[in-house]
Amino acid sequence: MAATSRKTTGTRAKSTSRSKGGAAKASPAIVDFTKEQELEAYRHMLLIRRFEEKAGQLYGMGLIGGFCHLYIGQEAVVVGMRMASKDGDQMITGYRDHGHMLAMDMDPKGVMAELTGRRGGYSKGKGGSMHMFSKEKQFYGGHGIVGAQVSLGTGLGFANRYRENGAVAMTFFGDGASNQGQVYESFNMAQLWKLPVIYVIENNKYGMGTSVERASATTDLSQRGASFGIPGEQVDGMDVRAVMAASEKALEHCRSGKGPYILEMITYRYRGHSMSDPAKYRSKDEVQKMRTEHDPIEQVRKRLLDNDWASEDDLKAIDKKVREVVAESAEFAQSDPEPDASELYTDILL
């Protein structure tokens, strides 16, 4: 399958058509990855997968409190976008944010220690799972109010244009947030002022327990910018190559001053909305089918093996390394002390 698809997929140069207004179901043509790109994608996605599995485990042990929203299943979205973006481009997202931070090369130790509420966490233990930031890595959070990050991300794009720095604000939100009013207020201003913002709608088919069909009058979310004239397309968010190809096109659109772009990533979360979600709103078969037939990591793994770019042993070695990084982060997240009591009253005002 992978071998044949490699021969039959087109190139970006050929993908010139884009439907306007109607249902644009077709992703831009997929560009094959080089061996190095496949390996990079594999490593990065695997890191997110293993990190999230470990986070789930620590949550189960009571070491992570409150809300914990895992990204398992959606790894190709952030990794593909990061591979297409440049240093200086920003990311901002909602509460399902661990994958984005790892994609932006934030230190897994700092992320995991924030999940356990320790002083070595990115927010000194004061933010938690949903509230982490790294100015250094251009990650602007981590926001717990559904949809708020869309206006904030538009503001990052505004700052980019104000400073003429050529950067693009990659603003992520879910199918659930796509019904919030401020999303459309932001679309309007972004297109009116031609702000460099990519609106990345991670459509994992459920806003908490409510399917897109039950929440949205129109379900082709890529066309939600149509009334503002913002181009958008649907992308196979389970295929990291499709994500990267679409992201490159969208980034180029933004950088050339044409304004915002919408990418609807069709993806899937394997786990519940949060850790305490029994996920009764969907069948086990549905989850299992996505896992066995569309898993983003398995797709890359298969291509690496089919192309003889890596052996089973090579991949095991990668897995081992990733597990070591994750184990180290979990170790740190448990041994690092809680914040000092004096931190209660710091960082309120400058």
């Binding site: 004061k126 538009t154 503001g155 207020e185 305490s276 029994p278 448990q334 809680e338 009253y345």
Partner: protein, 467 residues
């Protein structure tokens, strides 16, 4: 080394549950993500997924078992190349490399609810004692309206820092709905003086995002009534991000505009939001009265690295005051001003409330009662020290504001004064506020809904026991 599979917690409050069903049996191989068992609590049924690859070596807790404590080992997983003999080795009290389970062993629930050391309650730092700037002797005074003072403050700060920009409805080509931004578009151009669509929630979020990226936005609300559409972004995004990021990233931004009652505009356009914003840590809240307040405090707000809510008043915009004619007149946020010295009673007010306070003090003086009048200027931080010092001198306090009485700024001042100066009080603290009703439209009712000078005088007479 075999891996212990532990009874997971479904939520931070779960301590035990029922192991309802084993989906995998001993000898079954599993990969990460496979469902291996189902557990139940009184709230939900959840599937337990494998985290590691391997073969189920031994099931330690049979299905149907109730009250299984969180973190109890429920099964042993054999890794690649391991067989059942490894289980015996593991049952010895060996430590495993799985970091967390090693020390929790047995059926203790300690890990589910980690023992939190009891900390001494840290004390909030005292605010710095800011002082008004020295105004050099002989500095000439000039007359300025509040409107001009606000415009001049913005213009001066925009000249000083190219990252400062103004956005809002009608601020540019229309020159401001209340003409506060008169002339700014001409001087600074459309890149820095930006007309927005009527979209408060969106442009407030956009402004906060730009501030997080390091710009210095001034977001004008035509009135603060409309800022209720945007209050989530002001509080959840602007006020809390510095804390939630451990000090990495804040939002240097000013939210300004007309606040409180204008005249005859009805309930939805007549409300004072001072106590709403003053409630929130991470915000500064300023409510100027005079043109000098407006200029000096707005310049300070624009330079402040924190989000500042700057509450103006439409009735005051056109009023004229004397203002020092000097180059860089900046007032400290968080410092009250004693507008008038007195000895018999302390009248505390801010913003438009000061108009009632000062008129009442004039009238009282003619009747032989000496009132000290304090203009708070800032609501958060609140300069309670200046109030306490005055109350210790006069023994009596009356507060004046146009806002509703319930949970008002007056309530807070009254609370703090009784806490810190109880023994100095010679009478109960009285509040003169707007009435506890939505603002009516009818002229006579609107007058009744607002405070009056007579009410202030009556309150002062009550606390000084004079008639």
């Amino acid at each position: 080394m075999p891996i212990e599979i532990l009874m997971p917690a479904l939520s931070p409050t779960m301590e035990e549950g029922t192991l309802a069903k084993w989906v995998k049996k001993e000898g079954d191989s599993v990969t990460a993500g496979d469902v291996i068992a189902e557990i139940e609590t009184d709230k939900a049924t959840m599937e337990v997924e494998a985290v590691d690859e391997g073969t189920i070596g031994k099931i330690l807790v049979e299905e149907g078992t109730e009250n299984v404590k969180v973190n109890t080992p429920i099964a042993m997983l054999l890794g690649e190349g391991e067989d059942a003999s490894a289980l015996d080795a593991a049952s010895a009290p060996a430590k495993k490399d799985e970091p967390a389970s090693a020390d929790t062993g047995g059926t203790e629930t300690a890990a589910a609810a980690p023992q939190t050391p009891v900390y001494a309650q840290p004390v909030a730092p005292a605010p710095e004692d800011a002082q008004d700037p020295d105004i050099p002797e002989g500095t000439p005074m000039k007359t300025s309206t509040v409107r001009e003072a606000l415009r001049d403050a913005m213009a001066e700060e925009m000249r000083r820092d190219k990252d400062v920009f103004l956005m809002g409805e009608e601020v540019a080509e229309y020159q401001g709905a209340y003409k506060i931004s008169q002339g700014l578009l001409d001087e600074f151009g459309p890149k820095r003086v930006i007309d927005t669509p009527i979209t408060e929630h969106g442009f407030t979020g956009l402004g906060v995002g730009a501030a997080m990226a390091g710009l210095r936005p001034i977001v004008e609300f035509m009135t603060f009534n409309f800022a209720m559409q945007a209050i989530d972004q002001i509080i959840n995004s602007a006020a809390k991000t510095l804390y939630m990021s451990g000090g990495q990233m804040g939002a240097p931004i000013v939210f300004r505009g007309a606040n409180g009652a204008a005249a005859r505009v009805g309930a939805q356009h007549s409300q004072d939001y001072a106590s709403w914003y003053a409630h929130v840590p991470g915000l500064k809240v300023v409510q100027p009265y005079s043109a000098a307040d407006a200029k000096g405090l707005l310049k300070a707000a624009i330079r402040d690295p924190n989000p500042v809510v700057f509450l103006e008043n439409e009735i005051l915009y056109g009023q004229s005051f004397e203002i020092p004619d000097m180059d860089d007149f900046v007032l400290p946020i968080g410092k009250a001003k004693i507008e008038r010295k007195g000895s018999d009673v302390t009248i505390v007010s801010w913003g438009i409330g000061m108009t009632y306070a000062t008129k009442a003090a004039d009238e009282l003086a003619s009747q032989g009662i000496s009132a000290e009048v304090i203009n708070m200027r800032s609501i958060r931080p609140l300069d309670i020290d200046t109030v306490i010092a005055s109350v210790k001198k006069t023994g009596r306090l009356v507060t004046v504001e146009e806002a509703y009485p319930m949970c008002s700024v007056s309530s807070e001042i009254g609370y703090q004064v009784q806490e810190q100066a109880f023994d100095w009080l010679d009478a109960p603290i009285l509040r003169v506020t707007g009435k506890d009703v939505p603002m009516p439209y009818a002229a006579n009712l609107e007058k009744l809904a607002l405070p009056t000078v007579a009410e202030v005088i009556d309150a002062v007479k009550a606390v000084t026991y004079t008639d």
